[in-house]
Structures are given as C-alpha cells and as structure tokens.
Amino acid sequence: MTATAPTPVIGRPLPRVDGRPKTTGTARYSADVSLPGLTHAVLVGAAIARGRITAIDAADALDAPGVLAVLTHENLPRVTAQPPLLPSLAGGPSPGQTFCPMQDDRIHYAGQHIAVVVADTYERALYAARLVHVRYREEDPVAVLDQGRDQAYVPEKIFGGLLPGRSARGDVEAGLERAEVRVEATYTFAPNHQNPLETSSTTAMWEGGRLFLHDATQGPAATQHTVSVMLGIPHADIRVYSHYVGGSFGAKASTWDHPLLAALAARHVGRPVRLALTREQMFTSCGHREEQEHRIALGADRDGRLTALRHHKLSLTSHFDDWAETSLEAPAQVYACPAHEGVYRLVRGNTMTPTFMRCPGEGSGMFALESALDELATRLDIDPLELRLRNHADRDPASGKPWSSHGLRECYERGAERIGWDRRVAGRPEREGPWTIGLGMASAVYPIVPPSNPQRARARIYADGSAVAQAATAEFGTGAATAMAQVLADALGLPVERCRFEGGDTDLPNVASTVGSTGAAMVGSAVHLAAVALRDQLIGRAVADERSPLHGADPGAVVPVDGRMALRDDPGTGESYAELLTRHFQPDAEAYGSFGPPQGEPPAAMITLGAHFVEVAVDGELGRVRVRRMAGAFAPGRVLNARTAKGQLMSGMLWGMSQALLEATHMDAATGRWANPSLGDYLIPVHADTPEVTVDLIETADHVVNPLGVKGVGEIGQSGTAAAIANAIHHATGRRIRKLPMTVEDTL
C-alpha cells in the first residue's frame, strides 16, 4: 500500500489568520501601542518650498501647557552618517532620500520637517506645533516639469544606482526607419501619493541604552539599519517591531526621517514618544510617484509586427537624488520587438525624492506602451488583441533566454472570454441612452527580482505537534501570515490549524523588506526551506533511533503526513513528531532555512504576466466615465492562497482604475506646495465607484524562480489597467486620451 499524497494546503483559499484581531479592533498598529509615560510628538513642516529659515521661535510653543520639548535644527543633534539611497529590497539601510531634515536652515521642499514638538497629549502637541513661529528667506522654487525642462539631464544611473539611465538593444533607428507604420505620442502623468489609510507612525522608546521602535513599515530591518547608521549606534541595539501595518503601497517601503526624529525626541524627553504623521503630512514626508511624461515611438510592418520601440521618460526628482520609478524595463520585455531604447531624463526640483508607489514604474510605463499599441491597432485596423498576439514574445527579447514560465496567451483567452471580447470584434460600440459602451484591453507585466542576500526563516515544532515559522517580515495586508502557515503545514505534513507564522520583529530571522511583489516568493521560500530542514532533521533522527519504528529506513522513503513521519510505501510504519520528541525529552526542535541569492546566471528569464479587459460607459453629454466591468487574468506561477491572491489582484486592478480616472496631486507651481493634501481633495475610489471585478488565476509551473514556484501578485493587477480603460474610452468615443488621470475635461 502506498500513502495517498496529502492534498496540499498551499493554494487553498483559507480565510486570513488575522481575521479576529482585525475585526475586533484588537490588532495593535504602531500608533496603538501604549507605553508607560507615553508622550506625543507632532511635526512642523516648512511653509515654503525653497529658501532658508532666518528665525525660528519656539518660546510660545514651549510655554503652552503640557509641552515637554521643541526640537529644531538649532538643537537637534546632527546625524552621524547619511546612508546612500538604496531600495529596501537590498536589505540594508534604505533611506527614502539622502537628505535628512533639521540639520541646517536650508529648505528644499514644502512641508520639509523643521521642528518636532513633544507634549504629554496629542492635542497639546498639535496645538503647540502651531505656536512655533518661523521666518524664511524665500526663493523661487522649481516645482513642476515645465519650470525646469531646459535643465533636463540623462543620469548615469537611477534607482539607487541599480539601473542605467540609458539602455538599448538592437538598432532602434534602423527599426523605425524600415517600419511601414509609426506611432509617436507623448503621455503625461500627474504626481500621485500612496495614502495608506494608516498614516506613517513610529512609537519610540529607549531602555538601558537600547532603542525600541514600533514602526509602520514594509521592512522592519530597513528601519533598524537606517536608524542605526544615522544615529551611530550599533544595529544590535535597535529592535523594531511592526506587527500590523495599515497599508503602505510604497509609502513605508523606505525609511524616511520620522522614525529617526521619534527616536531623537524620545531620547531628548527621556520618555516614550509616539509620532504619527497627520494626513496632510503624508503628502510631504514619505515620497510620491513623480510627475512624468513618456514619449513613445514605435514602428511596425503592415501586419503589425513591431520593428522598434523607443521609450523616453522625463520626470521630476529632488535636488539630492537621481530617482525615477522604473517605467521602462519590464514593458520592454512584453513583446517580441527586435530593437528597444529606453532613456530616463530628469529635472531637479523642489520636491522630496520621489519613491515607490504601488506598481512603481510599470503602472506608468505600461500605460504609455499599451496605449501606443492601441493606437497602432487603430492605425492598422487590426483587433488590439490580435495585434498583441502577433507580437507575442516566445523568448525574452531582452536576454534572448527562454521564459521560466509564461502564460500570457492563456490570460488573454480567459480575459477575453470573461468580458465578451467578440462583441467588440463584431461591430460598433453599443449605446444605452446617453451612455456609449466601450471595450478595451491591455497586457500586464511585472518584473521578478531575485533576492540580493540570504532570506532567512526559522521553523520550530513543539512536542505537542504544533509549529511556528518566524521571519522579520511585516504584515500590511498581503495575507503573508496566512500563506506562510500554509507553506509550513505542507512541508511538515501538519494540519494548518497547528501551524502559525510570526513576523514583525527584527529579532527574528532577517528578510528584506516586502516590496516589489516579492514577499510571497522570498519569505515563502525561506519558510519552506526552514520547514524542510526541520522535517529532514527529524526524519534523520528517527531513522537513526533504534526505538523508532522507522529505524534503519531510507530517509528518502519517509514522508510527512498528518503530523507523522511514515514510510511512503507502508504508511502504517512510522511515528508522530510528538512521539519522537517526547521520547528524547525534547520540548521542541527547530531549523533555519535560507533562500538565495542565486548562484550564477539563471537559465531562464523570469517575469509575471497578465491581461486586462474592461468595459466602460461614457456619457456623451456630461463626459462622465463609468468603469462597469473589469476582468483580469494573471499568471503568477504557483498561488499560495487563492483567496488572498485574488484579493491582492482585485485591489491592484481597482488601483489601476483609480490611477486612470481619479488620482492626482496638484502642485501649485508658484508656491511649490501641493494644493490638495487631504483625502477629501486627493480622490481615491469609494464604495460607490466600484465596478464588477473578476480575477482569474492561470497557474503556471515554474521551477526556476524559487523552490515554491511563486511569482507575485501584489502589483501586477495595476500594470496596464489604466491603458485598458483609456483604450475602452477610445473605443467608446473615438477620443484618445494621453494623460492620467483622465477626467471629465478630457472626455467632454
């Protein structure tokens, strides 16, 4: 008799393990932590965008009831060192920008933190913050691209030095030259802000020379490393907790200055300090998606086969960093195009360094590319889906390698079926009263970034047969804790109810920040390897133990099932983990797992793909656009939990709708200040904006990406979405909108 393979727990749509704390209000976020003697800090931001502070007077603030301290550049200790800009995926210090406020009197951007007020209650700190009187010498800011176009330059590197400012493959000039059809167009993008519902918050406490931070972050270790370097205290003396994070979307992917300021304030007043940014400060404290424009030139033959693609981007960055979101790389890999040129041009302005925002780069790059392809389809009178199929990339056009897994054709098929794409092929747009119905589609792509250093986890099993896996990752809504319990359960052959995941603490095994849709793959692989190591350790123990029924067995013939180790071919022979551990007076056993970095060149190119199909209704009289249905199909490799994965993809698609139709932070060019820094004025979707959304998962086997074959679902839902909507609007109205967001003014 052979043991029937247990049904894997991985993939099952299990409900989230954090349902109870999150629905009962007992989940503690960083600003919910209460500590004895807790005080409250409120930041003061600069009222000008460029210039100097000529005087700062804190006397009134200090006189206000309950105020314990006011810190400004005049009395704040200088930072020890400024770490270089590096995305937190790299695992080390990762400041959001290389400028630290409150070191001198210079103002580089509006809202720049210039004072910290600490008081015994939040209200008192908030009130006293308004009593800090500041005088400035103001200079004219550069706040929008139009003010600095003539100053644009091509940086040698962008993105923390990780990517070149200019890249090319093939001969783009020649490709455009021999093209029978050319599309040239410019697409523009308003700046955006991430606006997680939880504002960035840090609660800081010193004890015995050690610093404890409760920080809302995508990477507790990134906070630890960054603050450690800036304060000049040992990494080992800082412990960061991040048990629940109220969303991030990139705002909390890097470490900005507020955790440092909270730490310094706590040291100054000798009491714990909670520093929670206000909503308005969320617009000037943790980066943004930059204002940008993309110029595309693409050439094709009469059948629509691409001959060349030139994709140039111009965007605004800060005075200190060459940052652009990476808009040009993944889009260059979607289609079989022999020649490609990508160039970033930057203008330095009076803003913070821009940063990650969900689908950072692909969200803008794919809007430009997928809109341009639609323009090409119209020009050639080819169905947009057919055009994409004709340019299907059978291999990676960038490296020439085969794909580790793909699945795009299946995504097209599934999505087209869902939305009823035949209707579009069959005829003119349908009408319903004032509404014209349009259908549009676009491809979706997101890169896969391998770990740059070992991603570690620990698995422990107790003598009662319950198990826990640990890694220092934060849970900010991805469902990581749920999926990791599933990974642990499968590797150990335990019921999932006996398995738990614990993260959110830098004293746990180190993993990089959960960014770039890598969480499931990186933490999942580490947990999987730790659990497999633990299982192998226990099996090894059993086969070597004379008192075990498995004594002398080939370890390779022993499998874990239902909390037992048993012979694959004779499941009756075996014993439980509990029996083994108890016999050896062992209360528990544990093992580490370490994933990556990859050794040598991977044999295949790795990428995540998908497709969007949307139906919009456009009111010809009022210009209103309603997205009615969105159908997304994605091929994210193996899915750890179908429910949470679909949830992430659905959210990403709604983010794409939001990017398409709602989100813009308006810069007042004259003052250099954001004009709409509130959730009342910065529009994001509400319940009433929500269309019908369907998500299809196309599972593909992938033996290259990582031991679990997992790609990622956090962001691809948003890649290409805005283009699908623009293309649907074009279908309905014949009007091509080349800017985001697309608003009533554009459709009227």
Binding site: P15, R16, D18, G19, R20, P21, K22, T23, T24, G25, T26, A27, R28, Y29, A31, D32, S34, P65, T121, Y122, E123, R124, Y127, N195, P196, L197, E198, T199, Y244, V245, G246, G247, S248, F249, A276, T278, R279, F476, G477, T478, G479, R643, G647, Q648, M650, S651, L654, W655, S658, S678, L679, G680, I684, P685, V686, H687, A688, T690, E692, V693
Partner: protein, 180 residues
C-alpha cells in the same frame, strides 16, 4: 456623507452654564456598557479619548478630518465620526466601539462575514467599516448593492476591498433576522 452627529440637548434650567476647561476636566463616558471617568481637555475628540485615555484603539485615526471613516463608532446607536465629535459632548450618551460588538468570544455576524468574505487586507479601515455596516443595516440602507455602496461611501478602504465588504454586508442582511 452618511454619518450623523448626536443632536445637542439644552439644559432645562435657565441658570448660567457651568464653565468647563480649557484645562482637563472630569468627563464620564459610557463605552461598551461600562462607565469610565477620564480627565481630558474639552477640545479632546471622542477618538482621542477612546484611544489615548481608554486605550480602546479599535477606532483608527486615518485623517482626523472627517474624510475617511476609519474612526467610525456608534453614539446612541448611530454612526458618528469620532474624530469630529468632542468627547465631552458624549457624556450620558452610550458609545459602542468595535471592541464592544462581539459577545465574549462569539463574534458579531458582521465580524464573521467580514472574515468569511475576505473583506479586509491591512485591516486599518476595518473597525470603521464594520461599525458603519452594522449601523447601515439598522438604518435600512442595504436593500441592494447600489444602496449599500452609496451608504458605505463615507468609509474609505485604500486596500480597495470594497467588493468584498459589499458581499459581507449582503450576507449579514440575508442571513440574520436581527442584524443588530
């Protein structure tokens, strides 16, 4: 906006109104069935009083400006934005927060359905969504999905779990005879 604030009641006698504040004054709040005396300044919002004085941190501060709904609680059975409500104005008015919904270990049907429908991700908007949703059913504003969506639109979810929240509310509406 779907949130209502409690109507003010006037003192019945015509004597001078007692002056309270601006420093901390004793305020009695009835929260989730228990009476609490807190010393707070009259300018303190109900949200701050719950979070900082009573350590009931279920209600969240997403904006402090009445734009996000994360701070939604019930005052006298009606949903209010705790960030725009003065705590001192809630004396004598029973307050329910998300911490008071469950009956011991037994979750409220809305909490159960939020879990069953995967109606949250980061969970930060969730206490507000749940408090709004419970009130929505009491108000009779859940006849169809459009009405649910309209009357829930004061509660933002940046994780955009909206379709699942609607599903959870629908499920509670359809399965419980007494949704409160």
């Amino acid at each position: 906006m779907t949130t209502q604030k409690p109507t003010a009641t006037r003192p019945t006698d015509t004597g001078p109104l007692p002056v309270r504040g601006p420093g901390p004054v004793p305020v009695t709040l009835t929260v989730n069935g228990a009476e609490h005396r807190v010393d707070i300044e009259p300018r303190v919002s109900l949200l701050s009083a719950l979070r900082d004085s009573l350590l009931l941190t279920g209600a969240k501060r997403g904006c402090d400006q009445g734009t996000c709904g994360a701070c939604t609680v019930h005052v006298e059975g009606r949903r209010v934005l705790a960030c725009l409500t003065l705590a001192i104005a809630c004396e004598g008015r029973p307050i329910t927060t998300v911490e008071g919904l469950a009956d011991g270990d037994e979750l409220h049907p809305m909490q159960r359905e939020f879990i069953a429908c995967d109606a949250f991700q980061c969970g930060y908007c969730t206490p507000g969504q749940i408090m709004s949703a419970v009130a929505l059913l009491d108000e009779g504003h859940a006849s169809d999905d459009d009405e649910i969506r309209e009357w829930m639109s004061g509660n933002l979810c940046r994780c955009a779990t909206y379709p699942h929240i609607t599903a959870a509310i629908r499920a509670v509406r359809d399965t419980t005879s007494d949704p409160s």
